[in-house]
Amino acid sequence: MVNLQPYTDPMYFIILLLALLPLAIALYFGKRLSWYEVIVSLVFIFLMFNGKKYHEGYAIILFMIWQWLLVWAYTLYRKKSNNTVVFYVATILAIVPLFLVKLAPVAHWTHVSTLLGFLGISYLTFRSVGMILETRDGAIKEFNPWLFLRFMLFMPSISSGPIDRYRRFVKDITTVPDREKYLGMLEKAVWYFFLGFLYKFVLSHILGTLLLPRFESLAILSASVHHGWSWWLVPVMYTYGLDLFFDFAGYSLFAVATSYVMGVELPMNFDKPFLAKNLKDFWNRWHITLSFWFRDYIFMRLVFMMMKKKWFKSRLTTSNIAYIINMLIMGFWHGLHWYYIAYGLFHGVGLVINDAWLRFKKKHKVPHNKFTEVFAIFVTFNVVMVSFLLFSGFLDKLWFK
């Protein structure tokens, strides 16, 4: 049976572009073939979960019915009333499937993973929770089942983002870009596809498939005789970190390029993250749609609540606590393993230190020139690489397995 995993082999791209061709021609002539777009999305999602992965196909249907009912019910409720408890219950219910799927491997519930898990569940959960939060705020007023399904099941970004926002997405799919703009988007799409090929099929292949396994086995071998430490951890760290970037950025470029062909301006996910001058700057450049989702829906809401209810006297305490909670939740979201949570904590504390440093710099005359800037980029890069080594779970394998 045919199973097509998104953006994995040359055949996928050929089939994808052929399927999108009628859509592109129509957009060029100022028409949007909504029905055709939905059918293409559904067919590709079906192919993703066809064959051996059929159980994931059932899981996504189950998930969609659940979220559909939930967002619908909450919107209906919100028109009449606005109780905070109901809002929390709705949010928790939206997260429950993802939570169970993340808990399953730790609790050894294989049947739960099979029943509820599917590729992309985390990303779909973000979309749905985002809608509930905006409905709570009154930014989304109506539940439109058709637009809801199109938003949730937009094929280019279904497996791993970028995470779009409902109102932004709806603006795009209910209009048609003018010809000049659309041609500009196609031009960008071509460039992104080729850059993605370079990232994912050349660089990530060299780093992740050819080099990383060798460094890892060397590190394991040498650590077994040197009390868990090995200098091979250094190349493991850099290779893993760079591979993580090229693999994910390559994938994201494909998703954005595909959505541009479909006349939708999906937001970009990366902006030269390794040129970041500090950790805060890094999070404005790395996995941007995730980090901005956390900024807008968790960090800012948390700060808003803490400041309004005056939980802490100082603004500083408020922001520091919000940083740590924010990044810890991000850690937990990655999975319930110690190294993901440690990764979250690392970045939370990192942001607190970073903020303190920025304040210090503002108060005192710290020299600032080209050299210090390069040094700042170098330090940030290395701090980030250490955090990725933690994130990789390799230390877990090295020390506890």
């Binding site: 939060l133 009154g138 808003f304 400041m307 922001s319």
Partner: protein, 78 residues
């Protein structure tokens, strides 16, 4: 005091410098306003003008310059 002056005063206090000569400058790009300061701004506007400006209504592209903030506040009051 007119809405404009009051908004500018709030912005001056939060940012810590006089923004009268940069009313059309993007304060997110320049780094003058971060997420923390943004929340402070929303809370101050809320209490001063008795308007509701929830965080998710807050679209950065519509709030990124002092003049845009003034326009937003005026539309929310009116």
């Amino acid at each position: 005091m007119a809405v404009k002056e009051e908004v500018i005063e709030i912005l001056n206090t939060i940012i810590g410098e006089d923004i009268n000569d940069q009313l059309d400058d993007d304060f997110f790009d320049s780094g003058l306003l971060d997420s923390m300061a943004t929340v402070e701004l929303l809370l101050d506007l809320e209490s001063k003008f008795d308007i509701q400006a929830p965080v998710s209504e807050f679209n950065r592209d519509e709030w990124n310059t002092p003049n845009k903030v003034i326009a937003k506040v005026e539309s929310l009051i009116g």
